[in-house]
Structures are given as structure tokens and as C-alpha cells.
Amino acid sequence: MIANDLLKGTLRTIVLKLLADNGRMYGYEITKKVEELSTGKIKLTFGALYPVLHKLEADGHIKTETEYVGKRVRKYYTLTETGRSWTEQKVDEFFDFVNTLTYVLKPTPA
């Protein structure tokens, strides 16, 4: 399992990237996908996921489409145009960060 405080800042990027790769997704699907891709190491709780989704929607980076599954409302989230370019930027930033960290934290050669 990956500790929550490590995930905190990257959750938004993860969600954006998944939406960029998979088109439209609903909440439960996102948590499943993250679990699958991380081979079970990252388990998103909905307590962490939905505030992020709603904030992204309010900021105009993603939009929702509503579909009915029986009587159940299912909301699919997709990236908007601005969200798409923002995602690229965020993902780049993240890799830059990871590379820097790897560089900083890598064991010094003996």
C-alpha cells in the first residue's frame, strides 16, 4: 500500500491522466482502474476521490454526463478542452518531479 500523504498531491494528476487515456469514466470505475494499474497498491477511497472530482468540475477541467442505470444515476466524467492541455502540463510536471526525486534520493555510488 502507498501511504496516503504521499498520494495527496498526486491524486488530481492521477484522475486527470486516467480520464485522458480512457475517455469517459465514472467514479467507481476510476477507483477500480487505479487499483488495477497499481496492482492493488493504490486504493482510492471515495472520500478522497469525489471532493477532487467536484473541484475539477467546478474549475472547468472536467465535465459530467449523466446516464441512468435502471433508476440509478451514473455520472460519467470527461476532460474538457482546457482540462486536456492542463492534464498534459500536470503530467509533465509530475514526471519532472519524479525524475528530480529519483536524482535526489538515488543511492550514492560507493
Binding site: 467514479g27 472520500g47 467536484h54 473541484k55 442505470v69 435502471g70 440509478r72
Partner: protein, 401 residues
């Protein structure tokens, strides 16, 4: 077979979500679908709806649902987010103004007091209320209104007391003392109770603890030790020099009276009588100061660092001893000015006993020492005693001619 939740079960889950406080429709739809998916997945393993639903709900924990809604709504509340940013900005502005003000004050540059007061005013009147209102709104369930109020009042009193103290406005010490009571009797117990009551949910906010500790130290510094160790040492040094001077003059005067006392007659007797009485009063006052801190009889260099503000009140203000001492000094001055003729001696008498005047700045005002550190009162009185014996020495010598 694919397990699916039937409509009546859906309605039931929705009702239970609403009942647990998750009422915001946008979020409720999301969570409802999410929970249904989880339950259906659980049912795939062959469990019935009831047991699957229970398993899922236990793993979620109901209490977090209303908290989740609260968090989401605040996150979406643009006004609240903006208020948060502005509040921190204003707080920063206020504290920077105050810091600049205290910097100016250190160098005695103009405008220091205005900046200091303005900075603290911004912090106390704008930043702190806004901060406590925000932290109140961010509390998830059963928000506790007493806590932010007590917290605000404590900080309000500390900061106001501190500014008043620096500006020498009246009421500073009272504000600081009351704030100490607020913190010790109100804020800390409330905070500890809160931590124990919901130890699982409340994250301990280190900011509160830091603020409490800083506040306590400010109060302690401002009400107790006004003087640095260095300053106390210097005042003690002066006091010891005065004491040495008094001993030498006493000896000289005694020797003088032994030798010429008889020939000088009544005048010398009267001077000796006045001096003895005034010195006894001065000793009484300095001893009273030491009694006030339960250090009767010990040398001043060992007692100087101890501080007890009320010592001066008990020793010579409230009992009128300081005023009586002044009155007798004035009588003595009048007598001496009658018997001496030499203008230089007259001048020295006037200067030496000038403290007995009731005029501002010229005269010694015992009540001004009510809130001063002990060593300052002690040094002042020893200094006055030294002036008395010195005047005695000068006048006696002049009588011989």
C-alpha cells in the same frame, strides 16, 4: 448470474445516505452509484444483498459521509476559499506591519508606535476573528462554538495587553493576567477534552498548541521579568555602591559628632535626630521590600533577581510610609535651610533633599513604584538614604566653621 440491486434497495440506500447527512444531490448521486457498485461486486461472491450492504457500509464508516459532503462543499465554495486566502494575506500584512513597527521602535525612529498599534489592530480585529470563524466553519460535525470564542478572547487579551504594555497605556497588566486565566482555565482544558472526546477524528492542530505556548511565554515575560539579568546586575552594582557610601559617611559623621558634638550643641543634636529617624524609615522600607518576597534579612545581591510587584505597595505605598518619609524630609530640609548660611551648602541641601518636593519630576513619587521591579524600588530608597547622610556630612562640616 450478474447481481443487481433492485429499486427498493436503491431507495433504501438513498434514504440512509440522506439520514446520515449526505444531502447534497450532486455528491449523493455519485456516492449512491459508487456504493451500489461496491455492493454488487460483493454480491458476485454469492452473498445476499443484506450482508453485502452491511459489509460495505461498515468498511466505509457512516460518520465520514457528512464530513465528506462538508469538505466538498467548502472546496467548491469560491467565496469561502477567497475569504481564506484574503484572511491569511491580511494576517501576514498585519504581522509584517507590527514587526516593522517594533524594529522602528528599537531604533527610536518616528512612526514606530503607529505601525505597532496598527499592525496589532489588524491582527486582533481582522485576522483573528476571520481565522476563528473559518476554523469554526471547517469543523465537520457538531461544531463547537465555545472553543473558537475562548481561543479568540485569550489571544485578543494577550495581544492587546502586549501593545498596551509597550505603549505604556493603563490596563496592560490586567489584560495580561486575565488572558493567563483564560488560557489556563478555559482554552487548555477545552482543547484537551476535545482531543480525548474525539481522538479518532480530530487531528491535533499543532497551530493551536504553538499559539498557546507563544501566548503563555509572552504573558510570562511581560508580567514577570521586565529586566534582563544584565540590567538587574547593573542596578545591584549601583545599590551596593550606595550602601558602601552610606557606611563610610555614617562612620565619618559618628566620628565627627564624637569629636565636636559637644561644642556644636543643640543644632548638631537636632540634625542627628532627624537623620536617625529618616534613615530608620528608609531601612524600614527596604526591609519591607525583602519581607514582601520572603527574603527578610538577606543581602540585596541575592534577592535582586526575585521579583514581586506588590512588594513596593506593601512596603511603603499602601501604608503611607513613603509619604511620611517625604514629609519628614521636607521638614528637615526647611530646618537645615534656616540654620545654614553658606550658599554652596544651601545649594547642596536643596539638591540632596529635593526628592521631598511634591512637584512633578523634581519630587519622588512612591506610588510610581507600584508596578516596578523590586530592585528599582530598592535602589531608589538606598539612594535617597545616601543623600540624607551626605547632606548631614556637608552640613555638620559647615557648622564647624
Amino acid at each position: 448470474m450478474h447481481a443487481e440491486i433492485i429499486d427498493s434497495q436503491l431507495v433504501r440506500i438513498r434514504n440512509e445516505l440522506s439520514a446520515s447527512g449526505l444531502t447534497y444531490e450532486q455528491l449523493q448521486d455519485d456516492i449512491l452509484d459508487h456504493i451500489c457498485c461496491m455492493v454488487e461486486e460483493e454480491m458476485e461472491f454469492g452473498n445476499d444483498f443484506e450482508s453485502s450492504y452491511r459489509t460495505i457500509m461498515t468498511s466505509i464508516g457512516e460518520t465520514r459521509l457528512s464530513g465528506l459532503q462538508h469538505e466538498t462543499i467548502l472546496l467548491l465554495d469560491k467565496k469561502f476559499q477567497r475569504m481564506k486566502r484574503i484572511t491569511y494575506l491580511v494576517g501576514l500584512l498585519g504581522s509584517l506591519t507590527a514587526i516593522t513597527g517594533s524594529f522602528f521602535k528599537m531604533f527610536h525612529w518616528p512612526g514606530a508606535s503607529i505601525m505597532l498599534t496598527l499592525g496589532f489592530f489588524i491582527v486582533v480585529a481582522i485576522f483573528l476573528p476571520a481565522y476563528f470563524i473559518m476554523s469554526y466553519r471547517e469543523q465537520e460535525e457538531k461544531p463547537n462554538i465555545i472553543f473558537p470564542i475562548v481561543g479568540y478572547l485569550s489571544l485578543f487579551l494577550i495581544f492587546t495587553g502586549a501593545v498596551f504594555k509597550v505603549m505604556h497605556w493603563p490596563g496592560a497588566n490586567i489584560a495580561l493576567k486575565v488572558s493567563l486565566v483564560f488560557i489556563l482555565v478555559g482554552f487548555l482544558p477545552l482543547y484537551i477534552v476535545q482531543i480525548f472526546k474525539r481522538s479518532s477524528q480530530t487531528k491535533i492542530n499543532p497551530a493551536y498548541i504553538i499559539m498557546v505556548l507563544v501566548g503563555l511565554s509572552i504573558v510570562l515575560i511581560l508580567t514577570r521579568i521586565n529586566l534582563s539579568k544584565d540590567a538587574i546586575d547593573r542596578y545591584t552594582e549601583i545599590t551596593l555602591l550606595y550602601q558602601e557610601s552610606i557606611e563610610l559617611l555614617d562612620q565619618k559623621n559618628a566620628d565627627f559628632l564624637n569629636e565636636y558634638g559637644d561644642s556644636l550643641g543643640e543644632q548638631a543634636m537636632k540634625i542627628k535626630q532627624y537623620t536617625n529617624e529618616l534613615c530608620a524609615m528608609a531601612d524600614h522600607m527596604t526591609e519591607g521590600l525583602l519581607v514582601g518576597i520572603d527574603q527578610a534579612g538577606i543581602p540585596i545581591e541575592q534577592a535582586a533577581g526575585r521579583d514581586f510587584r506588590n512588594a513596593a505597595r506593601d512596603a511603603f505605598i499602601d501604608n503611607g510610609l513613603g509619604d511620611k518619609f517625604k514629609e519628614l524630609s521636607r521638614e528637615y530640609e526647611k530646618y537645615l535651610l534656616q540654620i545654614v548660611t553658606d550658599p554652596l551648602v544651601k545649594n547642596q541641601v536643596e539638591l540632596g533633599l529635593m526628592y521631598s518636593s511634591d512637584r512633578f519630576i523634581i519630587g519622588w513619587m512612591p506610588q510610581d513604584y507600584a508596578d516596578e521591579p523590586l530592585i528599582l524600588s530598592y535602589m531608589k530608597i538606598i539612594g535617597l538614604k545616601r543623600q540624607i547622610v551626605q547632606v548631614e556630612e556637608i552640613v555638620l562640616a559647615s557648622l564647624l566653621n
